[in-house]
Symmetry: C2
Amino acid sequence: MSLLVIGTLAYDDIETAHEKRQGVLGGSATYFAVAASHFAPPRLVGVVGQDFAEADLAKLRSAGVATEGVEVADGKTFRWGGRYEADWNTRHTTFTDLNVLEHFQPKVPEGFRDSKFVFLANAAPAVQLQALEQVEHPDFVMADTMNLWIDVARPDLESLLRRIDAIILNDEEARMLTGESNLIRAAGAVLGLGPRLVVLKKGEHGAFLMGGDVHFSLPAYPVQDVVDPTGAGDSFAGGFMGYVASQGSSEPEVLRRAMLHGTVTASFCVEDFGIEPLAGREGDELAARFDDLLGIVTV
Amino acid sequence: MSLLVIGTLAYDDIETAHEKRQGVLGGSATYFAVAASHFAPPRLVGVVGQDFAEADLAKLRSAGVATEGVEVADGKTFRWGGRYEADWNTRHTTFTDLNVLEHFQPKVPEGFRDSKFVFLANAAPAVQLQALEQVEHPDFVMADTMNLWIDVARPDLESLLRRIDAIILNDEEARMLTGESNLIRAAGAVLGLGPRLVVLKKGEHGAFLMGGDVHFSLPAYPVQDVVDPTGAGDSFAGGFMGYVASQGSSEPEVLRRAMLHGTVTASFCVEDFGIEPLAGREGDELAARFDDLLGIVTV
């Protein structure tokens, strides 16, 4: 079924312990859409500047992403810079140039408003709410957020949490949002804020899913050579939501398998810079890694 | 089938962010044996001092532990002190009084020498080897170790690794032993040192098992209130080895279920100080938590 994502497109400058890359095509919606495209054709809503390469939009389209919702605004594309410590566990943001993102007001094209599955990538909660209001009758809405919004836009975030089905958070965000250091308690407290499902990401330690009728925990896929973790979380969300949309259901058995699909798309994402390691995969490569992961976790 | 453990019995002084306890019955073999006793009656080899309470030996016997191999030596029982940070992730050793352990030479009683399943709890590798040599024809031997021995007794440890079937390590030990920071690579490198199986413990992030014909990864049981993590690793090993011994097999399907049983015994262990939370459990309580964990990890 139809899948809509509202989020950022960006050019990233990335520095790892081994390599530096500049102007890498990135952004939350980009990673999400490419990951999701392996399961369901995503509709993308976002904004870019006049410097955004037509070739990059073409890459997304060739991955099956509908780009009519990508607005080209006056100014430059959002740019972000990040540097990773050698152990991958610490990321420093070196700069954030919002550029066209600063005054972005998402406009969901007429043809996208009937979308049934919706992912609100990380943005100001007011912007996420504004996007959501343009979708007519969504069946399943998942949102992402970040520490900044928990800190500076908590009332908006709480409004958002009452409007969505699922929230995806990392461990630090879950602790910050709830004040609970134990992650199981934190997840329970998040559910108390409104959503019926929470996906809690723990990076290299995997992720778990908690809701009224489901509790599922999964280790990360054992990637031997991480090259660049940028986009891993959005790639996870893309694989997860892409699979859920492809099944047209958010039943527990679908959600559990969706956790594996998200883990697989995230594992491809980190094997190189940008979207290439994910966009270049064939269906049978994803299926083989899914089976491999299933073998690793099956009792 | 018969299960033998060689390791320490101790009195521990433990300090958490919430509470202090002195003279808590502990030690690697104690925790291991109590956990294992839920699956197979363990035979225990170790040493205590003349201050060791007969009531504590009685506790072990009433849990089904055979204590003929517990030598009472001149002097005092091994004492250890530890303090945990509020996040549980950091443990400081406040003191180590080896006492009778200093000159301990394990003597495996005649009646224990036919043991088929053997756990060599953390000790100097030379002592572990000395114990192992007294077992006639073991089917499956697992050993634990610690950073100290990797540092000061590496040649002995390497000899040991060539003699055993399985090694259980935490993440830090695996990295130190192999020089590999990626845990999957580290586990592979450990296998290159001799054992056919490695169990890699990641504390609150679970554990994985790797060998030539098995790779299995499991999250920790979601304990909401950790009271004292002392003994969790040995309780894991006890549940794991107890189940393996009860099945008389180290086939992959047995090892996978053993990982769950170890996770369950460790989860009970951390819910209070000492062996009580584990010794006091009924079989159906363990079975219920096993089923709960199985539900959380089944795709």
